[in-house]
């Protein structure tokens, strides 16, 4: 009898035959409150979109969007302002590239070790330690990059005119890469943990060793989850602000030399908004135009990443 109840309850979500025909008034009020709370997050997204794109549209009335996207000079505060966003994009891409070169291989390697090699007890010690890295405030990473990593790089890379400047993209990118390792590692490890053990055992039965199982079975089987982790890591690098604002410099630069200073999109937003600029001016609107571009970049990457995670969940769960 009780088994019957359970089955019907599981099928309907609630045991409908036990419930009153009309739900109580209080229950309806509660439902409305819960739904309202859930809609706050949707309202937040709408708020972000409106607050970014309305001033951005006004900005593009004053500055043609083509000029914004293809211009190579960014000097919005000068007497003769130029609004070409490419130098900021170069800064962002260069930092992101350096951070990815650090974070993606190291994150994946850490994930393979934690998932395939480390025993249960070792994993329980190492994983939280790695995750502490993700919990350290980015302003402390910025301080670390500027006051320890940069002097170290300047000592390490001497030479003619190519000494790293006090603010340089290499230092900011390297430190940002370390910060992102746990993001990449933890998502990749989740994906690898979702690979059924049968696949591993099959490969072992055919005579594979652990390295072959890891690289030829587990990693390919978890590929969509690993790609999601990579994309999310890159998206975090694009959106990271404090490290680049503190260690990367405040001057836009079109050069691809990582030893020089660069201003990224995020650093521009933070450094400009921190000053006393009045609402409605063109310089105030540039914050939103650059912010909109940043949001579009990260939004697209997040969506791809979310889709990829769903894909591996569907395959194995």
């Amino acid at each position: 009898m009780s088994i019957n109840v359970d089955k019907r309850a599981a099928a309907a979500g609630t045991p409908g035959f036990l419930r009153q025909q009309r739900s109580r008034f209080g229950e309806k009020v509660i439902f409305a409150i819960l739904l309202t709370a859930a809609l706050v997050s949707v309202a937040t997204t709408l708020g972000i979109v409106v607050s970014l794109f309305v001033p951005a549209a006004e900005f593009f009335n004053e500055v043609p969007i083509g000029q914004f996207l293809t211009g190579t000079e960014w000097s919005p505060t000068f007497a003769n302002p130029e609004f070409g966003v490419l130098p900021l994009v170069v800064g962002t891409l260069l930092t992101t590239l350096i951070a990815s070169i650090v974070a993606l291989p190291l994150g994946l390697g850490s994930a393979i070790y934690l998932s395939e090699y480390a025993g249960d007890r070792l994993r329980r010690v190492l994983k939280p330690m790695l995750e502490v890295l993700a919990g350290i405030p980015t302003v402390i990473y910025g301080f670390f990059a500027l006051t320890l990593v940069t002097p170290f790089l300047r000592w390490l890379i001497p030479g003619g005119g190519d000494v790293p400047t006090i603010f340089n993209t290499l230092s900011a990118g390297l430190v940002m890469g370390v910060m992102i390792i746990p993001t990449v590692a933890s998502l990749s490890e989740d994906a690898m943990a979702a690979v059924p053990n049968g696949l591993r055992q099959g490969a072992f039965a055919l005579g594979s060793n652990k390295r072959q199982v890891s690289t030829r079975v587990v990693v390919p089987a978890a590929l969509s989850g690993i790609s999601a982790a990579f994309i999310l890591g890159i998206s975090r690098a694009i959106g990271e602000t404090m490290i680049v604002a503190m260690a990367g410099g405040a001057i836009p630069n079109m050069s691809w030399n990582p030893l020089e200073f660069h201003q990224t999109m995020t650093a521009f937003i933070a450094q400009t908004a921190g000053g006393d600029i009045s609402t409605g001016t063109t310089i105030y609107k540039t914050i939103f135009a650059v912010g909109a571009l940043l949001f579009v970049f990260t939004f697209l990457m997040n969506m791809v990443s979310i889709r990829l995670v769903r894909k591996y969940r569907e395959v194995y769960e």
Binding site: L18, V42, S110, L133, P137, R211, T266, F288, G291, F295
Partner: protein, 301 residues
């Protein structure tokens, strides 16, 4: 019979060798070392960073940090009292706004929202996306809508509302996991005894999920108090007084660390390091509480 003696000894070793451990081939070993090195880079950097910050801040890790106010004139008499107090105020109000909304959203999504409906799927995808939106974008939202739009300025209210929106997805995702971990049989039992759906949630599901929810809440709040970028967007700058209400200006430790790092004089770098140590200790304390709760109340169903 004696002719059927056990097989000659020389044959046994190769057979055993085939099935037994042959020792790790060199490529295997190199691969394993490489993986350990990957993990090692992160852990070594962590140790270097923590050691560096503590050593650098050591000369100024004294009571002045707690009794004096920030100053950009004389580093000797500068402290971080208003930043520490501001951090605590911000933490309290961010929790006040984000926890109820986040937990209620989680209850809706887990207990009421049927994920076959498009609007519930929209809410879920939206949350996942919001969790990955750069914090500075939340700063832009706070600047445009709350600070300038509603005219609250860079006050405790604006800062805590902005940070609450920032950590809301973290609270919801953690609370959902905690609620999902409560077994279905608990709900079925409660409903079978005649409880309404809300009575079941309020008296059975939530109490069982509280340890998981509080762990998630603490982690969300530790993210909030470490954020500097959105607050800088709002125009939060160094103030020499403690907040005295929701509409009071404020500063926090990360903002203060950023400010001191930007100062040219090296004494301020020491102060920045000392303030970083204080911030790290606060975060460490919060995380220890989270781990303690998790270990203490881990329930096997």
């Amino acid at each position: 019979m004696t002719t059927l003696a056990p097989p000659p000894a020389p044959e046994a070793p190769p057979e055993l060798n085939l099935l037994g451990k042959t020792g790790e081939p060199i490529r295997e070993r190199l691969f394993r070392w490489m993986l350990m090195a990957c993990l090692g880079v992160g852990l070594v950097t962590l140790v270097v960073l923590l050691t560096y910050v503590v050593l650098k801040g050591w000369p100024r890790l004294d009571s002045r940090l707690f009794t004096e106010m920030p100053s950009s004139i004389s580093p000797d008499t500068a402290g971080a009292q208003s930043a520490i107090m501001g951090t605590l105020w911000i933490m309290f109000f961010t929790a006040l706004w984000s926890l109820p909304v986040g937990i209620l959203s989680a209850i809706y999504l887990e207990e009421y929202g049927n994920s076959a409906r498009w609007w519930n799927r929209l809410i879920e995808i939206n949350l996942l996306n919001l969790a990955a939106v750069p914090s500075i974008v939340f700063g832009i939202l706070g600047l445009a809508f709350i600070s300038r739009g509603l005219g609250f300025g860079p006050t405790v209210l604006t800062g805590s509302l902005t940070l609450a929106l920032l950590v809301l997805p973290v609270v919801v995702i953690a609370s959902r996991e905690a609620i999902r971990a409560v077994p279905q049989s608990i709900r079925a039992g409660s409903l079978a005894l005649g409880a309404t759906k809300w009575q079941t949630i309020w008296r059975q599901v939530l109490p069982a999920a509280i340890p998981g929810i509080s762990t998630g809440a603490i982690l969300a709040l530790s993210r909030a108090i470490g954020e500097a970028a959105p607050l800088l967007m709002l125009g939060v700058s160094f103030v020499r007084f403690n907040p005295d209400g929701l509409l009071s200006d404020f500063t926090t430790l990360p903002v203060q660390i950023y400010g001191w790092t930007s100062e040219a004089r090296s004494e301020y770098q020491v102060l920045a390091a000392a303030a970083s140590v204080v911030l790290l200790i606060i975060l460490l304390a919060m995380n220890s509480v989270a781990i303690y709760i998790r270990n203490k109340t881990q329930k096997r169903w």
